[in-house]
């Protein structure tokens, strides 16, 4: 009788080696430069691709197994959410604005990251890198899909969710994330890795997916917590890929240091600007708040980012150029952003509002040196205008930054009463910027940024030629439904009526 002997299982390191490295091959009838044409022009020197290793040592078979488990968990909860009127369990319908911004501005970014990683998986010669990029490409597509599926339940009941794809392409506030990802995707493979893998994933994603999603849980939003946490579970792998990429470049050749430092400076600042939106969602759009944007940035930006840069100092890396300016902006940026969203609310596919007394008390407590001094007087005045029957709308349209494409709402780092005014002449044209950080990025690659499609200037060009009604149609904004003040909106009325129905027998 045969004895069944348990087959000796491969160790993790051995299995990883077999299922990545050993799948690679040397081309014979083309040279490597023809097969990988984009890997050298950025100036990064690589001597040994074998040195790139994924510390998770995840192989494709294990990847599919764990991802399938995540998907099963996710869709079970999404079904329950739909079957049990989960949309009525959120704390307040104001919270929906945060979800609308997420769907219009952030989910399409996930999809772009997916396209970007698919390309990088093709362009990098290293096999370990190819496998990791392939996994991340699939992850990012999954994130876009799960977010759209989760939020489609809200689209059945509320305004502002229906045209997120048009918003992504055409809405003025969506060009902020769109230009971020377009900039990264039109860069070379190494810069892309710094942009998305390192700056966005390692330094900044924690702010998006950790305190904000914990905030979603606090606000009773089971669907968002679920897609958020399901996406997060992939982020640890993404962060690790970004960190490995940076270590790899720095260890391969000392000439890589200045190139890498320049990308860190650039992408930290672009990411910081992008996350200003998330900060505004945290400070103003969550009816119940876990922590302020400032507190979150202290933990995940300053403390965690600081630890990282201290660690990378051994390679000669210093903290990003905009680090100090970012620190100075922390107590101001979300207030400046929300005031802008409010005054341009006729053109947003989400609602904004004047913060309540209770909200303002919380903001003064969280921003003791700035809120009462600078921002409360503006909100009090806006409140007076509304009570007088002349609600505030700024019909002047905004000056946009040529680099980040955000309205230039930010102030001088050392003077919160003066808007930052930066302009550059290039080939006879004038370009404006929101900050030194964005100006420096432009000046390094002007031929790239002069092509920026600035959405407000575009309104006055063909085919819209200044017609605001035609613009609303073009961005799929339903006037009087999707836009304007939350107070008196259809979303507010419906949520109240349906919630009353759900909690009584009337």
């Amino acid at each position: 009788m045969d004895m069944t002997v348990a087959k000796k299982k491969l160790g993790l390191k051995e299995k990883y080696k077999l299922l990545t490295r050993d799948l690679g091959w040397e081309p014979t009838y083309h040279n490597k430069d023809e097969v990988f044409p984009y890997v050298k022009y950025e100036g990064i020197k690589v001597h040994d691709w074998e040195k790139w290793e994924d510390p998770f040592r995840l192989t494709m078979d294990a990847y599919w197994k764990y991802q399938a488990e995540k998907e099963r968990k996710f869709y079970a909860i999404i079904d329950a959410h739909a079957q049990n009127n989960g949309h009525l369990n959120i704390t307040d319908a104001r919270y929906l604005s945060a979800l609308k911004i997420f769907l219009q501005a952030i989910s399409p970014g996930e999809y772009c990251a997916g396209k970007g990683f698919a390309r990088m998986g093709r362009e990098f010669p290293g096999v370990g890198t190819q496998v990791a990029c392939q996994m991340q490409a699939i992850d990012e597509i999954r994130h876009a899909q799960t977010q759209i599926h989760a939020l489609s339940n809200y689209n059945k009941f509320y305004n502002g969710f229906h045209a997120f794809a048009d918003a992504r392409d055409r809405m003025w506030y969506c060009t902020l994330p769109r230009s971020f990802f377009d900039d990264a995707m039109s860069a070379g493979p190494f810069e892309f890795m710094i942009a998305i893998g390192f700056s966005f994933e390692y330094v900044l994603t924690n702010l998006l997916f950790v305190p904000f999603m914990s905030g979603a849980a606090y606000n009773g939003d089971m669907a968002t917590v679920t897609f958020g946490f399901s996406a997060q579970s992939d982020e640890a792998r993404h962060m690790t890929l970004g960190l490995e990429c940076i270590k790899f470049m720095l260890e391969q050749d000392p000439d890589n240091l200045p190139i890498v430092q320049n990308w860190i400076d650039k992408w930290f600042w672009r990411g910081f600007r992008l996350l200003g939106v998330v900060g505004t969602m945290m400070d103003y759009m969550l009816p119940k708040r876990v922590m302020s944007w400032r507190e979150a940035f202290e933990i995940y930006g300053i403390e965690n980012g600081g630890a990282l840069f201290k660690d990378l100092a051994r390679y000669g890396i210093r903290p990003p150029k905009g680090w100090d300016d970012a620190g100075k902006a922390l107590d101001h940026m979300t207030h400046q952003f929300m005031l802008a969203l409010y005054q341009y609310q006729f053109g947003t596919a989400f609602h904004s509002w004047i913060p309540s007394e209770e909200d303002m008390a919380w903001l003064s407590k969280k921003y003791p040196t700035t809120f009462d001094k600078y921002y409360r007087p503006r909100w009090e005045h806006i409140k007076k205008l509304k009570e007088a029957g002349t609600p505030y709308a700024n019909m002047g349209l905004a000056k946009l930054c040529q680099t980040c494409q955000i309205p230039t709402v930010f102030t001088e780092p050392d003077d919160p009463t003066t808007l930052c005014h930066r302009e550059v002449e290039y080939k006879g044209e004038t370009y404006h910027f929101c900050s030194d950080g964005c100006q420096h990025i432009f000046e390094k690659e002007p031929e790239k940024y002069i092509q920026g499609w600035l959405p407000l200037a575009a309104i006055f060009q063909a085919p819209l030629n200044g017609d605001l009604g035609a613009w609303m149609e073009w961005v799929s904004l339903a006037d009087g439904k999707d836009n304007g003040d939350f107070a008196g909106s259809e979303d507010q009325r419906n949520f109240e009526a349906w919630r009353n129905q759900a909690t009584s027998n009337q």
């Binding site: 005031l339 005054q343 007087p377 349209l397 000056k399 230039t408 808007l419």
Partner: protein, 119 residues
Amino acid sequence: MAVTSTKPYVGVPRDRVENFNGKQIVYVGWDQHMLFSTPFMIVVEPGMKLGDMLQNAVRPLMQPDPDAPAVDFGKVEWLKGKQPWTPNFEASLADNGIRHKQQLTFRTPGLNTLGAAGR
């Protein structure tokens, strides 16, 4: 290098003046008046008189600020770009040398009701 690329590359600016149907962009900012999140973007013909642009396009936008009625454009301090400047309100934008996408800023020292708390 004006862009990191595999071969020479020249970009085409999207916002050149010829794309605006005979008009141009002028940005007008009111220093220290932070109720307005950014300078106003005004799109007008370069032949328009500066005074007309200020009265007809800029002044209505300033109304939400309580200081608006007290502003006399003839008496405020002006910057064109970043330089101190003396405007000619009777002359056109073009004759005032106001180029496409140029920013004008006016200062109203001592007049800042909403900013008073921040001083």
